[in-house]
Assembly symmetry: D2
Homo-oligomer: 309 residues x 4
């Protein structure tokens, strides 16, 4: 990476910001729709040379689907690979992230991977703890540690709003409960899951979390192993094969780095061994990815040859 200045990053942002007009802010819940569609910000955490920023990189946003990678890492650490992959598959899917049909046609009836809603719900169901609050604290503590930011919290307005309207996710949960994939109480799971999706941070936090993955699970500052290397690698693999909704394949070709997006407009990017990237651009394309964020990553990847392929 020779992107040495914030100024250059600002130029890059300026050159792609107009793409925001081709997208749309998610508004299936009112709380999400309040943001400014023209926002675009980025933080890059270079594990060798420090950080770069551009845009309003301290603006907070909720993780939404980005959180799926983090809960997966936690659950793999707590439960072990065998336990987790008995309940959730490892394969990409050509179906939409919220689809239920494959659960019905697959034998056994388990979600294809942890990046689609069904799989992520099954993963969150596996978070250990004697109560909702204990499980929630366990997850939040882990994410605060990854981001090295004790101020990371849940946006309860967003969580509450999603909790009240998440009928489709409840359908997925009950279907999986019928088939023994999900064990716990569904309303408790929905509460935990909607909080998880509503965890709020800024680009800088996200970039730092990316740096942890870039360093195979090591804290970029303390050097502490926050996530075992194998689990970090598993997470990065899922980010490549199914991190960007129905555009994962296209993204792998055009950009070629592990990344996970959310409908809030956040993107977590990882350049193995080198960088963590956090992006916030709430204007989404029709697949649910930040439209300008994608362009920004594509430009960066081409300029600095980020692709792992």
């Amino acid at each position: 990476m020779t992107c040495k200045t914030n100024e250059h990053l600002e130029e890059l942002i300026a050159s792609v910001r107009h793409y925001t007009q081709f997208g749309k802010v998610a508004d299936y819940i009112p709380a999400l729709g309040k943001v400014n569609g023209q926002d675009l910000s980025i933080a890059i955490y270079d594990v060798n040379s420090g950080c770069l920023y551009a845009g309003d990189y301290r603006k907070k946003f909720t993780l939404q689907s980005v959180s799926k990678v983090l809960s997966l890492a936690l659950v793999l650490m707590d439960r072990g690979k065998d336990y987790v992959f008995e309940r959730v598959g490892m394969e990409p899917t050509g179906d939409p992230f919220n689809s239920i049909s494959k659960l019905e046609s697959s034998i056994p009836s388990k979600p294809l991977n942890p990046m689609i809603n069904a799989g992520a719900l099954a993963v969150t169901d596996m978070i250990i703890g004697g109560s909702l609050e204990e499980r929630w604290k366990r997850l939040l503590t882990f994410i605060k540690e990854l981001g090295n930011d004790i101020e990371i919290e849940c946006n309860m307005e967003v969580a509450q709003s999603e909790f009240e309207t998440a009928y489709l996710n409840r359908a997925l949960c009950f279907f999986m409960k019928q088939h023994g994939i999900i064990q716990g109480d569904i309303e408790e799971l929905m509460d935990l899951y909607t909080r998880q999706c509503a965890i709020e941070m800024d680009c800088f936090d996200l970039a730092r979390i990316g740096a942890v993955f870039a360093l195979n699970g090591n804290d970029p500052e303390s050097g502490k192993q926050l996530i075992p290397k194998e689990i970090a690698r598993i997470c990065k693999t899922f980010m490549v094969t199914c991190g960007m909704y129905d555009a994962s394949g296209e993204f792998a070709m055009k950009v070629g780095i592990p990344a996970k997006s959310g409908v809030s407009g956040g993107i977590l990017g990882v350049v193995p061994g080198k960088l963590g990237i956090g992006i916030f651009g709430p204007s989404l394309d029709e697949r649910g990815n930040s439209v300008a964020g994608l362009k920004l990553l594509e430009k960066l990847a081409n300029e600095y040859d980020f692709s792992i392929f």
Copy 2:
């Protein structure tokens, strides 16, 4: 119909009872599994010449899916055809009765017909009333009137047991709630629906209800129009095109009368203008129909030329 004697009916039963060994009693809830698999009984309500019985025709059983026809009749009367068929389709389906995939692939996302679980749940959701108890009373009163038996009640043990384990039906409900097909509270709906399925009666009651349909909705005794003719006809049509689960087409060919079966082993049969039939035979084939009950109806239909085709 020249089946003039109970003795002849008893002979018919004796000749098919051994088929019960080729089936299995439903045991997905313990309360259902308590019955004797070799049971087989029948009542025939001839609108001209009175009633015939064979077997232990006063033994009670729960309606299960047989109830789908009755709630449909009630809701069509209360809401009108247009309202109902905006939310539930009129077409048979090649998918299993509890399938969710077609809800996802259909646009708009409405159940194909009221005889599959999704459709029946949507119908029950339309039962009018200010509270669960009011709606339940409305349905039960209607069914007591059809059966002319004030002792018809719900088997609360069965209802409770189904309520607690009906994860798949909850999945269907939440999916439909997401798509605006179902309006009400899901837990209240599940309570009402599991009570509806657990309504308990005997073959005689069922035969009398069949007679009402045979007479285009008229009470065979009082002559009162309990169901408008057009609605009775709609119900009979659904019984022919999708009354016998995945064997509806085969049944139409071999027997050729409107009929609806349930996993308790009950079958409601209608010979238009002539007879109502109630059968109880809890040993089920792999599609969920009473294995000996089907044989009994096939023999009767061939002997007395019941087919409407």
Copy 3:
């Protein structure tokens, strides 16, 4: 039936002809698109009181899917029920008439019924004969006999045009050949099938064929048993459960008689014991049924209480 005069039939036609404007003539092959969308004609063959006509009832049209019922009758006669239903199912389907997905998801991989394209192709494959010409002659002779009209022939322009463009039907055939449902050469089958669909007749011929079914397989003039009673009944059952494409259920409710439609705009109708009906109205609704033809049947059915339910 008290529709005693051609004049009354003409009035009925006049009252529904404007519905033709809400439909569209099939034009996926040029030869089909040549007709006049405002055409509407009907012939009724009353087995007791002779025939009635209205519109240009001697205008010829190709049978298209109407032919599926006739080839089924022939093959059931030649091969027997067991042979046929080992290869084609008896159940209605909620999928489109030309769908391939259910062939893939069903185990064993056989078409759900003989009224969808896959099933009809499998049926035509079973027509007996040592060569294409022998098989074709066998089918055509049978249909001439049903219609009592030696002038019934194939419209070779339509047949040729369909033969050249029937890629989807070839896909269905090869899929079924892979699974052992279809035995013969696919190109020969396509030739035979496209000729079958292109058999040309007029409303009067079609009404007479309907009369044969109305009389349980007996020739209305000679009394000869052209089709065994059981097979005639099987055909009528399929007409009710899946004769009108994706509107079969709705048609059964609104009209309630065995009927089979084709994309040429033809409809074969049967009022058991009473009438055969032939209709031609090439303007189609979005499901592929004659838009004015449906209205005409609905009016007739209501006026004369045709419904079998």
Copy 4:
């Protein structure tokens, strides 16, 4: 890579050869079934330090699905990305490699990616040339150049046998022809495609082809750019997201290198910047991948840290 000796490779092979007993040789055509299920061989082409071999690495086998990557590279070079990806998608699929359902449910009806049969057939259809022989020669010449082996040829017995029985692939082709994805004559396409799958080479040839991809398209000996860098990268991306049938995700996690397998038991592996790998082990697991070949790659990857993640 410090795997410096053939002896060490032989030891690795010896340590995993017993896995062959847990698999089965493909025998859907007799010509494929003739091989010895216990065979296992490997060649590694290190772009810095020369080649290593173990097992009977000069034994020939047909490419089968491995060829899908090579025809894709050729067609991307000849037609350009835009042309190709208008007709074939870029996304992984959770469906089996030979599935047809997604073609029906997707709008537009294009194959999800070039590694499933439908996509590979569409790709082969795009090979340029005025005749079958011209197109075939174009493909074969390209592959000879990649392998730097003019003796690479088609096994005509295998090709012929697949040609005669490839009903399912014909079904896929006709379905795509119906939807305009495939333009050319289907029988010519089948001829070309079955030849492509029957191209025969040994592990050494395959390892050398892998080295070309490892070097971003450059010939490891002459340095000539045989495939443009961007196209080589696209191919490697598809190998990661969908190269190992329904086990692509699991393989990416456990091994983490671009690879493509075929039902002959061949595997093409690429360690970017470093190695090409050719493996032959015809005993297959239930997903169609070489059972001992997978274990061998897993051991190598762990020992030498091959994973790109």
